[in-house]
């Protein structure tokens, strides 16, 4: 997970707001072609250093999020303290047996609450995280939209266009040809000769998107790339994604904004705790997911507020009792 995504996760939680410019828009459906991606019973397991809670999750056979730390008496805890910090290696089962087939011309959204395995699934499909078991078959080379990790904030925008382009597998000549187009698309003007760390976050985001979409891959994966940028830029990116879809076929999009998914996708996968819980046409899945998120949020907020209220009531009744006696 890139830093940016992690940051977005922290801030966005889950986002149900309907953005006005997305509302009512729908991705035009393109006649489907042959299968271009087959995911067969995919499992992804991460090695985690220094995690103990995970081990208790494994023991209880639960997902990480649901596991409660095991309570031990103080003597045992003292004895086990060494083992908790030395050689504490455990495993997180991030994707647990996902299978699906995608066809040319499809635009697939992936939704799910935080930590459900969306980004991991996306990276595994791209071949960036090797599967633990299971396999991914693909036609052509899938590419993740996002060169953030390759770029260097100390270097100028121009240098970063070169680095990013090379990282994406373009030749120096292709980069020369695309250079002006990228600068124009990113709309950064003279800042192209300034170090990237002097850019505003919007400018940096635009440049990143412009660089990553300079190469047109067979299968395009987008992970929250549209989280930043103004409305005009958003519209242009949307056009770029449509263009890729028409040319090459398949687009995958992970986003917390349901309205973005609705506007750009024809099919949606819903991930929950590493498993695929729903796979179908966009309206059907987003409706169910929206209901789920609302209920989830309600449950959480009332749990938070409810606990406090109950304590206060309890205290009051105790005071009452004391006063009466």
């Amino acid at each position: 997970m890139t830093d940016d995504v992690a940051e977005a996760d922290a801030h966005l939680d889950f986002d149900l707001e309907d953005e006005s410019d997305d509302a009512g828009e729908h991705a035009e459906s393109i006649p489907l072609g042959d299968p271009c991606l087959v995911v067969d019973d995919l499992h992804i397991v991460f090695r985690v250093f220094g995690g103990k809670k995970r081990e208790s999750a494994k023991k209880q056979g639960l997902h990480v999020q649901d596991a409660t730390p095991v309570r031990r008496n103080p003597v045992k805890r003292l004895l086990g303290a060494g083992r908790q910090h030395v050689g504490a290696v455990s495993e997180v089962h991030a994707v647990r047996g996902v299978s699906f087939t995608a066809r040319h011309g499809e635009s697939i959204g992936i939704v799910g609450i935080n930590g459900s395995g969306k980004s991991t699934l996306l990276r595994a499909i791209t071949g960036l995280i090797p599967p633990h078991t299971g396999s991914v078959y693909v036609d052509g080379e899938p590419a993740l939209l996002g060169v953030n990790a390759a770029l260097m904030p100390q270097m100028t925008g121009a240098k970063n266009i070169e680095i990013g382009g090379l990282a994406l597998g373009m030749t120096p000549r292709q980069i020369d040809e695309k250079f002006d187009e990228v600068v124009e698309f990113a709309d950064i003007g003279d800042f192209v000769d300034m170090p990237m760390r002097t850019y505003s976050s919007g400018m940096a985001a635009r440049l990143r998107f412009a660089i990553s979409s300079a190469a047109v891959p067979d299968i395009l994966m987008v992970d929250e790339a549209l989280a930043t940028g103004d409305a005009a830029f958003k519209a242009r990116s949307k056009a770029r994604i449509e263009e890729v879809r028409e040319q090459a076929g398949t687009v995958f999009l992970v986003s917390h904004s349901i309205s973005t998914i609705e506007a750009m996708c024809t099919r949606v996968l819903w991930m929950h705790q590493g498993q695929l819980v729903m796979d179908g046409p966009v309206e059907e899945v987003t409706e169910a997911y929206r209901a789920f998120v609302r209920a989830h949020r309600q449950a959480r907020s009332s749990a938070r507020a409810g606990g406090r209220r109950q304590n206060r009531q309890d205290g009051q009744s105790r005071q009452d009792r004391q006063r009466r006696s």
Binding site: D40, S99, P130, Y137, D139, A149, Q298, A299, S302
Partner: protein, 328 residues
Amino acid sequence: MTPVKTATSGAQDAGRPRPPEPPDPVVPSTSSAERQAIAEQFGLTKMGVRPPLWTYIKDVARRGAFIRVLGMSSAYARNQNTYLGQLWAVLNPILNAAVYVLIFGMLLNVSRGVDNTIAFIVIGVFLFRFVEQSVNGGAQSIAKRSNLIRSLHFPRAVLPLSNVMSHLTTLVPALVVMCLIVLGSGLLPAYEPVPVTWQWLLLIPAVGMLWVFNMGLAFVMARLVAITPDLDNVISFILRLAMYGSGVIFPVVRYVSELPEWMQGWMGTILEFQPIAVYLYLGRSSLMNEEGFPQEPFMWVLGAVWAVVFFVVGFIIFWRGEERYGRD
């Protein structure tokens, strides 16, 4: 008091609404065998399979420009946020060498028959620094860049290669300074004058071979540390051992005669012909005009052999782990 407390927590648990349950996991409409058949029918290729060695070599070669640009940019970025900026690439080894000259050359006087101690130490420190940086950089090239590995496709050998390239970039100006210091040391009254001869040009192939050797080292370190991150902590000790064992600051080979007799034979051979000692010898024999460091064809052959062996073996070791980098 206690019963009240438990009652409260019990009430809290009951009062909290359960989070909603999502639908049950989708049962795929096709079986695993059917999906594999579909994949085969439409000619899809399997992801995450290590490419054959020859294809891999061609992939890496095609990324030559990426290796160069990434290496040079990270060399530049490393020293960018200081007042003296790129000057540190040269100042750092000078200060390093100055400390060793002061302690080992002047205070301890362990030069054992080397006339120009300053030239000896400076050449040793500057060249060994390249080895040191390549080992450290190679070790971290995969382990510290999992972000990059998890977001883009490219042969992972690019990372250790560009890392060594970045250190070579900073080495080149440092080498010019090194030659100037060696030249200047000849002006001191205590030392013989150092003549500039055609032999000085031999420094270029010597550094070239050292570069190839360092790439091999970086490959091995990259794979080791990517798989066992703990090794990163051990490297500094091994490097220090290598530094004293290669005669970077004093001619360790000339101390062999003080060892017990049964050790002298094999210990002397190892100390003299191990790769780092060979490259230091080549560098010194090129610049220093001393009887103790004559040009020796055998050492040049040995230097070439070590470079090729380390590079080829290191590359294969690295390639065999290719599909595992990035998973952790």
